[in-house]
């Protein structure tokens, strides 16, 4: 009985060895597939809001003088920029946002800065330094930010003349990115969203 037993044992060892090889190969494939996608920021995915009407929210101007909603801005192409004084890329994009308001204001573009989790005092200090070239509203309960599904800042949304959310810039905006979206929207065409980099979720990060 010992004779026929030996090949059987050997074949079992072979099966185990093959199983290990297959499992290892599977693990490598999975590692590659997931590793490739690792570090893809969830915010880089096109916002599900693209094509949806702008949220019905009322926001107070930074100086407290009035409340505005996106309905009031119907007919304009609105650049909604979420920012804070603790966000470094926000400082860099500030000049270009001001330039957009200056250059495209007459064409019907409104730049609207929405304060993201920051105090009015900090924002006033920042704007004293960098300029007040466009309107800024506060968002004390982050309601507007949540309505726009903001992951971190800077994130900039664009509303077309019909008041729909048409595109988004994820990360630091700049003149080229802003105008590449504004131009088609002004002429009633579709615009492509853009990712320029990462966003900062909170002051510490």
């Amino acid at each position: 009985m010992t004779e026929p037993d030996r090949p059987k044992l050997r074949s079992r060892a072979r099966v185990i060895r093959w199983a290990v090889i297959v499992a290892a190969a599977g693990a490598v494939v999975m590692a590659f597939v997931f590793g490739d996608r690792f570090g893809v920021d969830p915010g880089q995915v096109e916002s599900p809001l693209i094509g949806q009407p702008a949220p019905d929210v009322s926001m107070r101007l930074l100086d407290g003088s009035a409340e505005i909603g996106f309905q009031d801005l119907r007919g304009s192409v609105v650049v909604v920029n979420f920012f804070a004084s603790w966000c470094i890329p926000c400082r860099y994009e500030h000049d270009d946002l001001q330039a957009v308001q200056t250059e495209y204001g007459d064409d019907g573009v409104v730049v609207l800065g929405v304060v993201y989790q920051d105090s009015s005092a900090n924002i006033n200090r920042m704007l004293d330094e960098l300029g007040r070239g466009y309107q800024v509203v506060t968002d004390p309960e982050s309601r507007t930010a949540i309505e726009f599904g903001v992951f971190g800042i800077p994130e900039t949304f664009f509303l077309d003349r019909e008041g729909r959310i048409a595109a988004k810039v994820f990360g630091e905006a700049n003149w080229d990115a802003l105008t590449s979206i504004i131009e088609p929207l002004l002429s009633g065409e579709d615009a492509e969203s853009i990712t320029t980099g990462t966003v900062q979720p909170s002051p510490g990060e």
Binding site: V29, D36, R37, V40, P42, V45, Q117, E141, T196
Partner: protein, 391 residues
């Protein structure tokens, strides 16, 4: 053994039945109570909070995150629960804004049903395989069966042979012989039928089975790979194309490209300085010279530019001029380690003055704020200076 009294048996039986009835009644009350009592509003808020992902955190539920966004989202959940919105509506509110990513436990996508059911399929296949193997092992491993059938067959053959001898010798009647022949033949045929096929057939069959198994395994691997790739890419399939909007890392920009940009924007000093430094590092001293001179014309307070301009002209063979430029650098930025290194090196090699070079170089080496590459060059120069002084 004494028989229990009738009364005793009955009372213990009644007790047991009562206990069972009471226990199951209590159990039923608890189950029904749990199942039918509606969850309180706090329960619902907490539960929803555990199901929603905090958008500014690393894989954390909004109920568990101290971040401001998470707290605001919890507040919105609370409001919506207060207003009597259903769990589904509230989840849908956040999904509409953040995508399905916001759900910590995303709903089952029908496309990936196969992927999810793979472990179960694997388990079933495994159990079947083990069961079959075991059954085969027992039938194979039981030599009695094989031996028995073989024995019966041989026995029947022997009986048949004996029968014909007996018939020939007229020991039995033809009638009985016919009966017995039929009986033994039947036995022999039955034994033959029960006898297992030979090992050869067995091996052939198991080999084809192994091949089929492998083919299935390879196919399954392929399917899994494709599905995994799809599953993972679903999130990214709508991802925006990255456009190059001036965000390309500077390290990828070639010198020629940067040169063109500098030519278009001649007054941006830091950019020209960066370009000059690139040429400097690449030992393209003539190109570096031109840009350093322009940089210093625009901003004479650039200590680094003076120092590297000095080293550049030294490399081009102008020792005195080099010395002068490096001195200027140290005027603008006293104690700059790189400038001191150039000065020391110019003393050492340009003027062959190791005595002047050594204390300067040792001074740099003694400092703690010296970058490692400069320190390495300084130490090398010190060694050279020492050996020159020994000669």
């Amino acid at each position: 053994m004494s028989l229990p009294t009738i009364d005793g048996t009955r009372s213990s039986l009644i007790k047991r039945v009562m206990a069972a009835v009471l226990t199951s009644a209590l159990f039923a009350v608890i189950v029904i109570g749990l199942a039918s009592s509606p969850p309180t509003e706090e329960d619902r808020v907490a539960d929803l909070g555990r199901r929603l992902r905090c958008p500014v955190c690393q894989n954390e539920a909004i109920a568990d995150s101290p971040s401001e966004t998470a707290r605001r989202m919890m507040a919105i959940v609370g409001e919506k629960v207060d207003q009597g919105e259903s769990d589904e509506t509230i989840e849908a509110f956040f999904v509409a804004r953040y995508g399905e990513w916001i759900l910590l436990d995303p709903p089952l996508d029908r496309r990936f049903l196969l992927l999810w059911s793979l472990p179960v399929i694997g388990l079933v296949v495994g159990i079947v395989a083990i069961a079959r193997r075991r059954r085969r092992a027992t039938s194979e491993g039981d030599p009695m069966i094989a031996a028995d059938t073989e024995e019966i067959r041989e026995h029947a053959e022997r009986d048949l042979a004996e029968l014909s001898v007996q018939l020939e010798e007229h020991e039995i009647t033809a009638e009985i012989a016919a009966d017995l022949t039929a009986k033994y033949t039947a036995e022999r045929e039955r034994a033959k039928a029960q006898h297992r096929p030979s090992r050869d057939d067995d091996e052939k069959r198991s080999r084809s089975r192994v091949l089929t198994g492998w083919a299935l395994a390879v196919l399954a691997m392929g399917v899994v790979t494709v599905m995994v790739v799809q599953a993972v890419e679903v999130r990214g399939e709508n991802a925006n194309a990255l456009i190059e909007s001036g965000q390309r890392p500077l390290s990828e920009v070639t010198n020629e490209e940067l040169d063109a940009v500098v030519a278009e924007n001649p007054d941006i000093t830091p950019m020209r300085l960066a370009l000059a430094d690139r040429y400097f590092k690449a030992a393209e001293y003539e190109s570096a010279l031109e840009h350093y001179l322009e940089v210093l014309k625009q901003d004479p307070n650039q200590g680094a530019a003076w120092a590297r301009l000095g080293w550049t002209v030294y490399q081009l063979g102008e020792t005195d001029l080099a010395f002068e430029y490096v001195r200027r650098s140290l005027e603008v930025e006293p104690g700059r380690p790189e400038s001191e290194l150039y000065l020391g090196t110019i003393y050492l090699y340009g003027y062959r003055d190791a005595e002047a070079a050594l204390p300067l170089l040792q001074g740099i080496a003694a400092r703690e704020d010296v970058p490692p590459d400069i320190r390495a060059s300084v130490e090398q120069a010190i060694a050279v200076a020492r050996s020159e002084m020994d000669e």
